[in-house]
């Protein structure tokens, strides 16, 4: 039996008197895709922030490949193999699309400590960057300044940057939020093909139920910071409590997230 990539036990975050995330347990197996769903304020982003080191957990542990990473700073967790995207675009606006990926690649390969090379002549990293952009289908934009490309392309660029560190675990925070239906279909297909390639292990939060059921091997349903239910997409679809607590409100939720 293989060991889990990530083991989360009793993860809890309290802000003052409020509990944003309460006692979450989760094992993530290699190469699987787990979706985390729940209404706004269910604690999904806080959960991500704790796993990726942006916030310190109040309680509980995060173990990556047998190593306790609880409460480490973001750059150390990233070095150990957890890479994440954000709900809002988080790129380098004044650089070209290709340079955006090159920054992350040179960080990953340790080139970032080189003071006396010429970055624009680093062919190895350039090739790798273009390969990644090709994989995301945006290599035609490589010379554009990142701030001028479309919203959907920015989100894809961010996924390229997330993948550049060859992570053991990829956290995607609402990868299709704010996208047009067309872009959403394209992105879902793309993430699906990346997941199917067997190169990556994904944790995805998502509002769009079509996306979730299309991608996930397993689904964790959160409600008010707690685990409501976990299971396969089929089980989630048929679970009465989940339907009442979440799927019943699905329409309102998507409207809210688009507003």
């Amino acid at each position: 039996m293989t060991n889990p990539v990530l083991t989360i036990s009793n993860l809890t975050k309290r802000f003052g008197g409020n509990t944003a995330v309460s006692g979450i347990n989760l094992d993530v197996m290699p190469k699987e895709t787990i979706a985390i769903i729940g209404p706004n304020g269910a604690g999904k982003t806080t959960f991500y922030n704790m796993v990726s080191g942006r916030m310190q957990p109040s309680e509980g542990n995060v173990v990556l490949d047998g190593k306790d990473i609880t409460g480490l700073p973001p750059h150390k967790i990233s070095r150990l193999g957890v890479s994440r995207s954000f709900q809002i675009n988080n790129i380098f606006p004044e650089m070209t699309v290709q340079e955006n990926v090159e920054v992350v690649l040179s960080a990953y390969h340790g080139h970032s400590r080189k003071l006396f090379n010429i970055a624009s002549r680093n062919t190895g990293i350039q090739h790798e960057a273009i390969e990644l952009l090709k994989r995301l289908g945006i290599d035609n934009l490589k010379g554009q300044r990142a701030e001028v490309i479309s919203y959907g392309d920015k989100r894809l660029l961010e996924i390229a940057m997330v993948l550049a560190t060859r992570p053991k675990l990829v956290l995607l925070d609402e990868p299709t939020a704010g996208m047009t239906p067309d872009e959403t279909r394209r992105t879902t297909k793309l993430v699906k093909s990346l997941a199917d390639s067997g190169d990556y292990t994904f944790l995805v939060t998502e509002h769009d139920m079509d996306v979730v059921f299309g991608l996930a091997d397993r689904i964790l349903v959160m409600h008010r910071g707690e685990k409501l239910f976990a299971g396969t997409p089929e089980e989630v679809k048929n679970h009465p409590e989940v339907r009442r607590a979440y799927l019943g409100e699905e329409d309102d939720e998507t409207e809210e997230s688009n507003a």
Binding site: P74, H75, N90, F92, E94, V103, A107, S112, L115
Partner: protein, 315 residues
């Protein structure tokens, strides 16, 4: 094609700079020496501001400490000039390490306040520690004997010192330029645009900021080491906060987004200062007014404004 034109322009400029002592009077040799030294000072500041995005209001501390280190070494140890310059760089880098250690972890506003406060503190120390720094009069009465590498150097001929400064600033600028274009330099630009994303790429942003701060401090110290023999004194004015305003204005005047911006800014600055101080003593007032106008209306600097205009014309 474009790079060839640029290289040709650069070659002409360098040839022109080398030829200055043969075609210009002593007055202009002094002016050009000052432009080169202050240009290096401003370029070192821009590594921190224009590239890494940290607005330091205490950069004169490193410049001044470099000049004091030079004066002290020349007075007490009489070491060769090139060795003394290394001491200037080392002293400034050490100070930058100490100040940077406290400052680089802070957000923009606290960083600005703390660098200004540290700069003023260094000034106060130099002003009051009379036994070492000779207080408000500063350190004077030193002389150069040798350059190092077995060569002699005297200050008697300004043309000779100009050429020494040109060579050293030239080498230092090439090193700074390479650093800006390196992978490390790319990370610094990334940090300016989005520090959090850089830390999520696995880099310790504070450490990178600190290294940039120390490198900039060292080059400011080098510029300070060059200015002391030129002025023949290392005085507290070189450490004063209003001296920190000069590289800020030069970088913004020329354009913070370009490597050559601070050098062009230094040239305009020195020529303007020479012209304005010929009929008024209130140079600081003019400096403040220009800085305010540049920030409000020409944030991209002269170089950026001209290049934008050129792009418009070509369309």
């Amino acid at each position: 094609m474009k790079t060839r034109i640029l290289l040709a322009i650069l070659a002409v400029v360098i040839a022109g700079l080398i030829a200055v002592p043969w075609v210009a009077s002593y007055f202009y040799i002094f002016i050009f020496t000052e432009i080169l030294i202050l240009g290096l000072f401003a370029a070192s500041f821009n590594l921190v501001f224009g590239y890494t995005g940290m607005l330091s209001f205490g950069h004169a501390a490193f410049f001044g400490v470099g000049s004091y280190a030079m004066a002290l070494v020349l007075i007490h140890l009489e070491w060769p000039f090139l060795v003394s310059l290394l001491v200037s760089m080392g002293a400034a880098a050490l100070l930058a390490l100490i100040i940077g250690f406290f400052c680089v972890r802070l957000n923009e506003v606290y960083f600005a306040m703390l660098t200004l406060a540290f700069g003023m503190m260094v000034f106060a120390i130099a002003y009051q520690w009379r036994s070492v720094t000779n207080g408000s009069d500063g350190l004077a009465g030193f002389s150069l004997g040798s350059l190092g590498l077995g060569l002699d150097l005297t200050l008697a001929n300004p043309a000779v010192y100009y050429h020494v400064v040109l060579a050293i600033v030239g080498v230092a600028s090439v090193i700074l330029y390479v650093i800006c274009r390196s992978s490390f330099g790319m990370i610094l630009r990334a940090i300016r645009q989005n520090p959090e994303r850089v830390s999520f790429a696995g880099l310790n942003v504070r450490a990178y900021r600190l290294v940039a701060f120390v490198i900039a401090g060292a080059f400011a110290g080098l510029a300070g080491g060059l200015i002391a023999p030129f002025l023949r004194v290392a005085s507290p004015e070189l450490l004063h906060w209003s001296m920190s305003a000069e590289p800020i204005l030069m970088a913004i005047l020329g354009g913070t987004g370009y490597f050559l911006g601070p050098f062009i800014g230094a040239a305009v600055f020195v020529l303007l200062e020479t012209w304005i101080t010929s009929f008024t003593e209130s140079w600081m007032l003019v400096l403040g007014v220009i800085l305010a106008l540049m920030v409000i209306f020409f944030r991209k600097g002269l170089l950026g404004t001209v290049l934008d205009w050129w792009m418009e014309v070509r369309k």
